[in-house]
């Protein structure tokens, strides 16, 4: 259907010098006049930083917006859990920051696998986000003078991160939730909580609606619109255990993929080095311990395998291996996320990991407490030590924390052009759900920046460019395309309910997660990926034979919700492994063991793989088709990252 667009994969980057592209584009994009806006309906799926800010802003502009979330309230979206902060190039610290520097750090942090023009626009918009959030009443940290405070974060040599204690995501989300509430009250935004998108509807080659299920009543609904914006977040939960919320899922983006949208770089998944280790078979999620802890904590494991069962205080200094300080003397414990994660895996693979199961390393504050006193450490990290104690029952002021890497964020997502429109006209994808800005590795404090940039500032400027040509083209939700989509959703739900096997959907999800973590996690190799690609279809077949989904369709049925999402993960996992196999290089978080430098660092292949891999669905049981978007670097020079 979209063959004409595919093949070229034109990102439609505007002409002109890098720093004038966005301005030029705004000057020449088409507009929709205020009295026509109220005739246009826009669907926004998701209510996190990206979806919430987009829905609120489009409502302010006068469009009729329908916003959907599967949670009971838009305020629950998982953006709320982000801890550290949000980047912007305000240069309030007078330490040499600039839009260009923020752009360069972000593109380098992504190991040169993102699109220059998009990243530059993100860096440009970042300053406006801070202005907007302050105006909304986000209680950012302040200095005694009343001016805004900053702190530093990984991957940058300047202090450009704005924060609200350890709850920056919460405060930014509440700011955009409140803006959304204002629009709900004024009638421009209609909110649909407890509602899950289960299919995308395409009419005459354009995205014109969705099919949803009300999770409380089980009622299926059709919603026609003039454009559809997906802001449904990332797919980290494909690994079962991750720092994502329980409900985070791939369904909305995967359903769009099956309707023709291209899925880009699905193998780019970020593993965060400092999380509380897995402690039992029934663990349901992993909890992040902020990266900031590595400022004062020292990471170590015993030098000898035999010592791993000893209490930490019984291992003398000389018997400890501070492996990050040893391997990366200039960055030490503050080595970037992907590198720190792999180093932890390596020492645990050698059998030197600590704690139950041997999958953990120490993050030790003893030296810092000796140097600064317990009180200072409490002031800096008290809330994190408190959370750690709640979860593990251990007092990290007395014994070292145990940490281990965990899945945290997904850089991959649906392919979008410069306007953030997918290859399906009328389907826009924003926030973590798209692939656009973080390349192969995201820097800290950049996810919040991207979500809000897309929603507050990009969507209001690029959506009209499409909508201007769509007046009066909204189809009826009674059209055959809607009928067909609804029937296919119903058939799938009925199929799930009919299997009536003996296992819960969760048990399959856990099994899938273990397989992916092992074969497509922190490091990957051809043999492992091929094995995963063999096993995933087997597991999927078993799921459809053995899953038991109790209850019925017309009810609040949490088992049915979960089973539908797991079924999608079981298909999506295959795409992810296929992409990891196809990307025959190491880049950022994607580490292929076959491609490393002599001292074990990621080795890119710029000649063949400086490209976005975008996959097109070809039908059930058919291998997807690969399209490439060649990345053109006009401003930056590709370089090997080194943190030695």
């Amino acid at each position: 259907m979209f063959k004409s667009m595919i093949g070229t994969l034109d990102p439609k980057v505007p002409p002109g010098p890098l720093d004038q592209k966005w301005r030029n584009h705004q000057d020449h994009s088409r507009l929709v006049s205020p009295n026509n806006r109220r005739k246009l309906e826009i669907i926004v799926v998701g209510s996190g930083l990206a979806g919430g800010s987009a829905a609120a802003t489009l409502g302010e502009l006068g469009y009729r917006v329908k916003c959907f979330c599967f949670q009971d309230s838009p305020r629950r979206a998982h953006s709320i859990a982000a801890q550290g902060g949000i980047n912007a190039a305000k240069n309030y610290q007078n330490d040499g920051d600039s839009v260009y520097r923020l752009f360069y750090d972000t593109i380098k942090g992504g190991d040169f696998r993102s699109r220059e023009a998009n990243v530059y626009r993100l860096a440009e918009i970042a300053n406006h986000i801070i202005d907007q959030c302050v105006a909304q009443g986000v209680p950012f940290a302040r200095e005694y003078s009343g001016y805004l405070a900053n702190r530093s974060f990984g991957g940058a040599q300047v202090s450009r991160t704005f924060y609200a204690r350890g709850q920056t995501g919460q405060q930014l989300l509440l700011g955009c939730y409140q803006a959304l509430c204002r629009q709900v009250a004024s009638g421009t935004v209609h909110m649909f909580p407890y509602t899950e998108m289960l299919d995308l509807v395409i009419v005459n080659g354009q995205a014109k609606g969705i099919v949803t299920r009300n999770l409380l009543s089980g009622k299926m609904e059709r919603h026609a619109a003039d454009a559809v914006v997906l802001a449904s977040g990332g797919y980290g939960n494909v690994f079962y255990l991750s720092t994502n919320a329980r409900g985070s899922n791939v369904t909305a983006t995967y359903r769009a993929y099956k309707r023709g949208a291209l899925f880009a770089n699905p193998s780019f998944t970020q593993i965060h080095p400092t999380c509380i280790p897995v402690s039992g078979d029934y663990q349901s999620k992993l909890t992040l311990m902020s990266e900031s802890l590595r400022n004062d904590g020292r990471v170590w494991v015993p030098k000898r395998k035999e010592d791993r069962f000893k209490a930490s205080n019984e291992i003398p200094e000389a018997e400890r291996d501070y492996y990050l300080e040893r391997k990366y003397p200039s960055y030490g414990n503050l080595a970037p996320r992907d590198i720190s994660s792999r180093a932890a895996k390596e020492v645990c693979d050698e059998g030197r990991g600590v704690g139950p199961g041997g999958r953990g390393v120490y993050l030790d504050f003893a030296d810092a407490i000796k140097r600064l006193g317990e009180e200072t450490i409490r002031e800096r990290y008290g809330n994190l030590f408190h959370v750690y104690q709640k979860i593990t029952g251990e007092n990290a002021y007395k014994v070292p924390m145990r940490i281990y890497p965990a899945v945290h964020y997904t850089m991959g997502g649906l392919w979008v052009d410069y306007d953030l429109m997918s290859n399906v006209p009328g389907l826009f994808v924003i926030g973590e759900a798209n692939f656009s800005d973080h390349g192969a590795n995201r820097l800290g404090a950049s996810a919040l920046m991207q979500g809000l940039a897309d929603g507050y500032f990009v969507m209001p400027n690029t959506l009209p460019n499409y909508l201007a040509g769509q007046m009066g083209k909204r189809p009826s939700s009674e059209s055959p395309e809607f009928e067909q989509a609804e029937q296919s959703v119903r058939a799938r739900l009925e199929k799930l309910l009919k299997v009536n096997g003996t296992r819960s959907a969760d048990s399959f999800h856990r099994e899938l997660g273990l397989l992916l973590w092992d074969k497509c996690g922190m490091s990957r190799n051809e043999q492992g990926l091929r094995e995963a690609l063999r096993k995933i279809p087997e597991l999927r077949a078993e799921f459809w034979r053995e899953v038991r989904v109790p209850g019925d369709e017309e009810d609040y049925n949490q088992s049915l919700e979960r089973a539908g999402r797991v079924a999608d993960f079981l298909e999506f996992a295959e795409l992810m492994c296929m992409d990891a196999l196809e990307r025959d290089e190491s880049a950022g978080a994607h580490f292929r063991e076959e491609h490393q430098t002599a001292d074990g660092e990621a080795l890119r292949n710029d000649e063949n793989h400086a490209a976005v891999f975008a996959w097109e669905f070809q039908g059930e049981g058919q291998p997807p088709k690969l399209h490439r978007e060649q990345l053109h670097f006009e401003t930056v020079h590709l370089a090997q990252r080194s943190y030695k």
């Binding site: 629950r76 803006a179 209001p460 109790p550 609040y556």
Partner: protein
Amino acid sequence: MNFKLKIWRQKNRKSPGKLADYDVRDISPDTSFLEMLDILNDNLIRSGGEPVAFDSDCREGICGTCSLTVNGEAQGPDHPGAVCELYMRKFRDGETITVEPFRVGSFPIIKDLTVDRSALDRIVQAGGFISARAGSAPEANTILVPKHNADLAMDAAACIGCGACAAACPNGSAMLFAAAKVSHLSFLPQGAPERERRVLKMVRAMDDQGFGNCTNTYECEAVCPAKISASFIAKLNREYARAQFRQRLGE
């Protein structure tokens, strides 16, 4: 560890509910309370039963989705913290644990342990915001906020919107929830232009949603996972009195 559970089962909003007995065995003390319920549900699914419906999402105490009353305490016994941050090591082996939904007239039960808290959204929709259109904001550092005020605003803004305050209150009052939002925004200069409108509308919305009145029992503060201080209720009362007074003066 082994536990006996008494769990509230209720098919839907209209049908009557009752406590049902369950046994869970061989639970590690490092299991979270919600994971213990996951295990129960997994067993129920495998044995042909109907799993218990309960809400949760982030499972790290920030999203405010989980909403259980454990042994009579909203958000369970490990204060301060949401029930997703409660671990089984807090209980005695062999203990009987009673699990109920939040009991508030304004939060109708949906099924088993899940309740409808959309009344809280409606309080915010009534005026819990600053009307700042995207695109119209001035340069951020032109708005100065004394650190003390910014800290107080943040203390109030930390509310996770779970509704435990109303569940713990003998009057079913949402005063702590509303007070947190009113205080957050009125401590900041950006919130000043809508200060009076906001508090009057939010208090009226609270009444319209059927929440009770505050009689200073401080149960809300005792169970609040975000440690919101009841002193913000005094702040709300002052803001309300001030707004009413100014309204009467015709200002």
